[in-house]
């Protein structure tokens, strides 16, 4: 297994080392190229401040101020016919800019259009809940809180949704190690048996491909099995394993291949 390397600065260093490499960008087109989007953007701009807007892959992306999110989504739902909130989550840009990007993916069934509303919040800042507008935001905002630690003000039940209630840490942060921190590694042991039992149960074995030839606690050499904890010398006798004892079992018939019928025709 590869050794785990801390990925705290994963966003700071360039992924490509080629000096002249230009990472491919999805082409952006101005909002004026689509008249439906242009009208929607004008309606939003009339009431709220829009920092940036463009069309990408036939979807309009609108950047707004974080304090306007409820108002913008209400306007889009009530007046612009964007009646569905299909997705809502956050993107971790903490290492790069010390802030989160929040996106709301909106769908209009009447116009057959999708708009992505985006905004940036500082690390530690809370957002306004849009649960009163869209019921789908209920679980999405709980998931955002669970995975990133971003709270939604005005949410009726701001608790973790995927991880247990007594979990510590936000697993989708880029600083969170994939295999868990100290708390995660001992979570089930601490909770069920208590911290004092850590020495008895032992740390997690993360390398599932590791096989210790001389370990008889966790491994058995097929055909040469020994009782648990026996010291392995390498000269273990052959130990033929069969599902039934040689002498037969009381009132249970043993399978004999000679008496059996092999059906070759699968379409019998």
């Amino acid at each position: 297994m590869r050794e785990y390397t801390p990925k705290d600065d994963v966003q700071k260093k360039a992924y490509y080392t080629d000096r002249f490499y230009v990472s491919p960008q999805v082409p952006k087109s101005p909002v004026e190229s689509d008249e439906v989007f242009a009208a929607d953007l004008a309606a939003i701009k009339a009431k709220f401040e829009v920092t940036d807007a463009y069309i990408q892959v036939e979807q309009m992306v609108v950047f707004i101020k974080p304090e306007d999110n409820f108002g913008v989504l209400e306007l889009m739902k009530e007046e612009l016919e964007y009646t569905q909130l299909s997705e809502l989550s956050a993107i971790d840009w903490i290492a790069k800019e010390n802030r989160f990007e929040i996106f709301y993916q909106m769908l209009s069934m009447n116009k057959r259009k999708r708009i992505r509303v985006k905004m940036f919040i500082e690390n530690g800042q809370a957002v306004n809940s849009v649960e009163k507008l869209f019921r789908s935001a209920d679980w999405s905002e709980r998931e955002m809180f669970d995975m990133f630690g971003i709270e939604a003000n005005g949410h009726p039940f701001m608790k973790r949704i995927l991880m247990p209630y007594d979990w510590q840490g936000s697993p989708l942060l880029k600083t969170y190690p994939l295999q868990g921190d100290e708390f995660a590694a001992w979570y089930e042991v601490d909770k069920i048996y208590g911290k004092e039992s850590r020495d008895i149960i032992g740390p997690e074995i993360r390398d599932t491909a590791r096989v210790d030839r001389y370990d008889s606690q966790r491994f058995a050499r097929l055909g040469h099995e020994v009782p648990k904890g026996t010291k392995i010398t390498g000269n273990e006798p052959k130990n033929e394993q069969n599902y039934q004892e040689d002498g037969g079992v009381f009132m249970v018939k043993k399978f004999d291949k000679k008496d059996s019928v092999v059906i070759d025709d699968p379409q019998r």
């Binding site: 921190d181 979570y187 089930e188 008895i200 149960i201 599932t208 039934q244 009381f250």
Partner: protein
């Protein structure tokens, strides 16, 4: 008066089989392994297939029970998440002695491919396991063979003595 008559003198004796208490108790135990309905992930589908008509667990006396209080063996079929770990312990504690555990599939054995923060790396960190079945997911034949090996393991024990309760610690 009975309609049929038993000829007690044919076949050289009475219709009585002589055996030891050990054997008769173990025969009963090993041929009525009631399993707890406990499918956690995709291995549960294979476990259900083992119980259905094609593979037919009933002929081994293995009947799935919906309550841990009526079950003898817990087949941990699937990925055990850390959130669920306390419940597997609670269900295991509710089962009556003697009880056995089959860890079915890679995820239950070692955590499998879920080498992440949210997965228990092997159910033997929570409860003692009698039998590990390899595979992702194991075929119903594997589970059947595992149950037959478990029957053999039960027969090898002394039923008359008080069984030492299995505890992880």
């Amino acid at each position: 008066m009975a309609q049929h008559k038993v000829n007690y003198t044919q076949d050289g004796g009475l219709p009585v089989a002589l055996t030891s208490i050990d054997k008769i108790v173990n025969w009963g135990r090993s041929n009525s392994i009631w399993a707890l309905t406990y499918g956690l992930a995709c291995c549960g589908i294979e476990m259900m297939a083992s119980g259905a008509s094609r593979y037919d667990f009933d002929r081994f006396g293995t009947i799935f029970r919906a309550s841990p209080r009526q079950a003898d063996v817990m087949v941990v079929a699937g990925t055990l998440t850390k959130k669920h770990a306390e419940f597997i312990k609670r269900l295991y504690d509710q089962m009556t002695e003697p009880k056995w555990v089959i860890s079915m599939g890679s995820c239950a054995n070692t955590g499998g491919m879920f080498n992440t923060y949210a997965t228990v790396q092997g159910v033997d960190r929570i409860i003692p396991v009698d039998l590990y079945l390899p595979g992702c997911a194991p075929r119903p034949e594997t589970l059947q063979y595992g149950v037959m090996l478990l029957q053999k393991k039960i027969r090898a024990n002394h039923a008359s003595r008080a069984q030492k309760a299995k505890r992880l610690m």
